[in-house]
């Protein structure tokens, strides 16, 4: 039977594309499986992971431990390293055959390459970089009540609506938009890494998870790109998403860039260890490498402590850090927008204030 994306009654199950690199699952996979579990329960459907690679079947059960009922494994030497052509063909072939209602992908550099290509081939919509997902309308209305400024008292919602409601920041995080794809299936969404909460691992669920091989048909003609080399950069990659403490710097360090970055590192140490981040200007000016960037075009972080040094707080930056548990800001300009989201603000020269903060924090920790 020909595939028809408009025949929405023919689609069921929630799929999560599980990305692996070098035979290692990505953290996003576990986040998405955990979130997918919630959606599958709301919809009363199965949660299925789809895993592509070579000799990767052994990874499948672990996905079950976070909530997958089933993992479809597409194994082929030509899937060992990601290529747009091969991955798109294998996923679309499987999706046209098995007709999932929802496909979630991590919004990684690979997910955001693969997602749009698949959506275009499947003749359906795709919503990029989502930060919140609902199927159940009750849950969605609750979400709006706590996370929006909308007055819902006069709004009528269709409580039977079962479209996937995909919420994402737009315009640098200044607006939130909930997107639906009502006339076509699957509903597709890439999901921002680090946002969805990973569920606790359950060995019992892992044991119950069904692992199913799915046949791969790829010919040389399907592959129009050739990966000559995959290089892991030797430099240490900053783990902004996993960090409990992030001390970020902005334009305010311009008079002594090296010193500013050094102070940020020392302040992170005074908190008991953390990493240094930066606003867009620090990356665009080449003061810090791109993996340090916090913000709409960088990483979204919610550490326990976020310290902003000499960052004015453009919308673009706030979008990436305003959900941190505790925010401390130091800025010379008392009207800087960063103070609007800060729990504690200090108006002053960071080069003078930060050494005092380091001393005071170190002393306070020692006194415990």
């Amino acid at each position: 039977m020909a595939f028809n994306s408009a025949d929405i009654g023919a689609f069921k199950d929630i799929w999560v594309f599980c990305e692996q690199r070098n035979g290692v699952l990505m953290n996003t996979d576990f986040e998405l499986i955990s979130e997918g579990r919630k959606l599958a329960d709301e919809r009363g459907s199965q949660l299925v992971g789809i895993l592509l690679g070579h000799n990767v079947e052994g990874l499948a059960k672990e996905l079950g431990g976070y909530g997958a009922d089933k993992v479809i494994v597409c194994d082929d030497p030509q899937l060992e390293v990601y290529t747009t052509d091969a991955y798109t063909k294998v996923i679309c072939d499987a999706a046209m055959d098995l007709k999932p209602e929802v496909i979630l992908l991590g919004a990684s550099n690979i997910g955001r390459d693969l997602g749009p290509r698949c959506a275009a081939r499947l003749n359906t919509g795709l919503t990029a970089d989502c930060t919140h997902l609902d199927i159940d309308m009750d849950n969605y209305v609750n979400f709006l009540e706590t996370s929006s400024t909308l007055d819902l008292s006069n709004t009528k919602f269709d409580m039977e609506d079962v479209n996937l409601k995909m919420t994402r920041p737009a315009f640098g995080g200044h607006l939130m938009a909930t997107i639906i794809c009502p006339r076509f299936r699957p509903c597709m969404s890439t999901v921002r890494p680090g946002v969805m909460k990973k569920a606790p691992f359950s060995q019992e669920m892992a044991d119950k998870c069904v692992v199913e091989a799915y046949p791969v048909t790829l010919t040389a003609d399907d592959l129009k790109t050739e990966v000559l080399d995959v290089v892991k950069e030797a430099k240490q990659i900053v783990d902004l998403i996993g960090a409990d403490v992030i001390v970020s710097v902005g334009r305010g360090i311009s008079k002594d860039i090296q010193k500013g970055i050094e102070l940020a590192g020392q302040l992170a140490d005074a908190f008991g260890g953390g990493v240094v981040g930066g606003s867009r200007v620090t990356i665009d000016s080449g003061w810090l490498s791109a993996d340090h960037q916090v913000g709409q075009t960088g990483k979204t972080v919610h550490p326990k402590v976020y310290v902003a040094l000499g960052i004015s707080g453009a919308i673009q930056h706030k979008a990436g850090m305003q959900d941190s548990e505790l925010i401390i800001a130091v800025n010379k300009d008392e009207t800087a927008p960063i103070f609007e989201v800060a729990d504690y603000g200090i108006t002053g020269d960071l080069f003078k204030v930060v050494p005092l903060m380091i001393e005071a924090l170190t002393a306070a920790r020692a006194s415990k």
Partner: protein, 267 residues
């Protein structure tokens, strides 16, 4: 060889962003700029033009005022420009937009040696979807997140960035590449002679009439109504409660902060 560079005029979200009471963007109050990643795509194309003398065509879809942006790109060094503009195209999502742009490129013609460059993503929607979707509609191989592009004959080698490193990818023309900026990439400025001549260069407007019979356009899948995705709700997030501004910026201030953090078990 011809390189089509897809560009978008966007509101400058790094500046002041004004929101209407109903939660929509107050575009009238905002500056528009050329999307930053698209400028890098244009620069990459102009570097290849410097080396090979190829033709560089700027393409955009948008309202008539987008002409100003195209004239700037002609002044930077593009050879010709295409504005795709029609009421019927307004409100298109990425799927619909990619249909229209691929139909326009097909209409103008894509040769065996040609390439399409896009910016990785636009700062208004941040979707990064239109590039790959144009590639799919035109049946072209794609390479996204490209930091370096080297072309020898019909072979193109691209450094494609990953979060933890990069891939070297070889692909043949015709192909589509989406470009990212790195620390060293800067787009060139308009030149004085470029500005003087930007109104003399070929400039084409493609409207609904021109494209409606193109096979790549499905008329029920364009514009606001036809787009597969729709906005269900848009809203502004609530402001966080106001925090505490500590007094002074001296040793006592730092000690007050440390005491607060200790009390809250943060340290």
């Amino acid at each position: 060889m011809r390189i089509y560079v897809c560009v978008k005029q966007v509101p400058d979200t790094s500046g002041v962003v004004a929101v209407n009471p109903d939660g929509t963007l107050n575009r009238a109050s905002m500056q528009t700029i050329i999307n930053p990643d698209d400028l890098i795509a244009m620069e990459q194309a102009l570097v290849l033009k410097d080396a090979t003398g190829c033709q560089v065509t700027a393409v955009t879809m948008g309202p008539p005022p987008a002409e100003g942006m195209l004239r700037e790109l002609l002044a930077m060094g593009a050879d010709d420009a295409i504005l795709i503009s029609a009421r019927e195209f307004g409100g298109s999502d990425t799927f619909a937009t990619s249909q229209i742009i691929s139909a326009a490129i097909n209409y103008v013609g894509l040769g065996e040696e040609d390439m399409i460059f896009c910016g990785r993503q636009a700062i208004d929607g941040d979707t990064a979807q239109v590039g790959p979707q144009i590639a799919e509609k035109l049946g072209l191989p794609q390479v996204s997140y490209a930091a370096e592009i080297v072309k020898e004959g019909n072979d193109v080698t691209v450094k494609r960035m990953l979060e933890d490193g990069y891939m070297k990818i070889k692909v043949q023309t015709p192909c589509l590449i989406t470009c990212i900026s790195d620390q060293d990439s800067k787009a060139r400025y308009m030149t004085l002679s470029g500005i003087n001549h930007c109104y003399e260069k070929p400039y084409q407007v493609l409207d609904f009439e021109a494209l409606k019979d193109e096979p790549l356009i499905e008329l029920d899948k364009i514009g606001l109504k036809g787009s597969p995705t729709n906005i269900f709700k848009s809203f502004t997030p609530p402001q966080k409660g106001v925090g505490v501004m500590l007094e002074g910026a001296d040793r006592k201030t730092a000690e007050t902060l440390a005491a607060e953090l200790l009390k809250k078990h943060v340290i």
